[in-house]
């Protein structure tokens, strides 16, 4: 079994389709992330509900409770990553450190988004307490 044999039983359409898909997904990989703006805060959703909003410039490790267990989220050096997850595929951990965009753990229904949460500059005009 070698490459030429494989080429023999694939059709031209096969190869065109293969090339298009590879090309598009590689382009997507390169460009999609840069299209998504970075931010200064990390929003963590569990099962569609926003549960945490944390500043990106403060070191912190947060245990997030999902339906399958605890997803451990770490924020450091303006980046966020998943350290531990109860899910099987560990996709979320593999994504490593993320500066902008999203880490999703579908099995545990945890969604981590680096948000564009405005500037945290001026003093508020009034405070509710």
């Amino acid at each position: 079994m070698n490459f030429r044999e494989i080429l023999k039983f694939t059709t031209v359409a096969d190869r065109v389709l293969f090339s298009i898909l590879i090309l598009l997904s590689l382009l997507g990989l390169i460009f999609v992330r840069s299209l998504i703006p970075g931010g200064n805060s990390v929003e963590i959703d569990v099962d569609g509900n926003l549960e945490y909003v944390l500043p990106l410039d403060e070191e912190k490790t947060v245990p997030v409770q999902g339906p399958q267990g605890t997803t451990l989220v770490e924020i450091r050096n303006h980046r966020v990553r998943v350290v531990e997850s109860p899910c099987q595929n560990k996709l979320c951990i593999q994504q490593g450190w993320v500066e902008h965009g999203v880490i999703a753990c579908l099995p545990n229904k945890v969604l981590i988004t680096v948000g564009k949460n405005g500037k945290r500059s001026s003093e508020p005009d009034a405070v509710t307490e």
């Binding site: 079994m1 494989i6 039983f9 694939t10 059709t11 359409a13 096969d14 389709l17 293969f18 898909l21 590879i22 598009l24 997904s25 590689l26 382009l27 997507g28 990989l29 999609v32 992330r33 998504i36 959703d45 099962d47 569609g48 099987q88 595929n89 560990k90 996709l91 951990i93 593999q94 965009g101 999203v102 999703a104 579908l106 099995p107 229904k109 969604l111 988004t113």
Partner: protein, 175 residues
């Protein structure tokens, strides 16, 4: 193409189920990677016995697998079902609409693409509800789907060739 009897359906479903279970048994080297080995059986069934049989085998495999790992009717089941059915239908569609345009490898690629597409859409509708999250993960999913889809397609092609060469049908164990 012949129409399969119920033993052949059962046997094919069992193969699919076994591959499905086999795949989920050990953590794959790259965690993003789901080989979708069961798709090999779906594709072979489609090419040898037609769309109806392929859909049946897919349904049986998805339902049984989810019952066995306890996700029946849960979200993972819905993703699996949506992906499985749409991928089978899309392969059947291209196989009958444009015969000979794609080989098993091309069909497998189409199946993988639709499988991923359905899962991403379902995941968006059911849990994520944030389009940027889906967009971000789509290229990677498509890339990996293309690679595994190609491998599965080639494997299917080889199995079909071997089956035809040796003149064997998929035997049922009933004697």
């Amino acid at each position: 193409m012949q129409s399969p009897n119920r033993y052949q359906i059962a046997l094919l479903s069992a193969y699919a189920l076994a591959l499905h279970g086999f795949e989920s048994m050990f953590p794959s080297p790259v965690p993003w990677l789901r080989l979708g080995l069961a798709n090999i059986v779906t594709l072979i069934t489609l090419l040898l016995y037609g769309l109806r049989a392929a859909v049946t085998v897919t349904l049986i495999r998805v339902v049984l697998a989810s019952i066995l790992n306890g996700t029946f009717l849960g979200p993972a089941f819905l993703l699996s079902l949506g992906g499985g059915i749409l991928s089978t239908l899309s392969m059947g569609f291209f196989a009958s609409l444009t015969p000979r345009l794609f080989s098993a490898t091309g069909l497998s690629l189409i199946g993988a693409l639709f499988h991923n597409g359905a899962q991403l859409l379902l995941a968006y509708a059911l849990f994520i509800q944030r389009i940027e999250a889906v967009l971000l993960i789509t290229p990677l999913i498509v890339l990996l789907g293309t690679l595994t889809g190609t491998i599965n397609g080639i494997v299917s092609e080889l199995i079909i060739k071997n089956l035809k060469k040796s003149g064997e049908k998929i035997q049922n164990v009933d004697t």
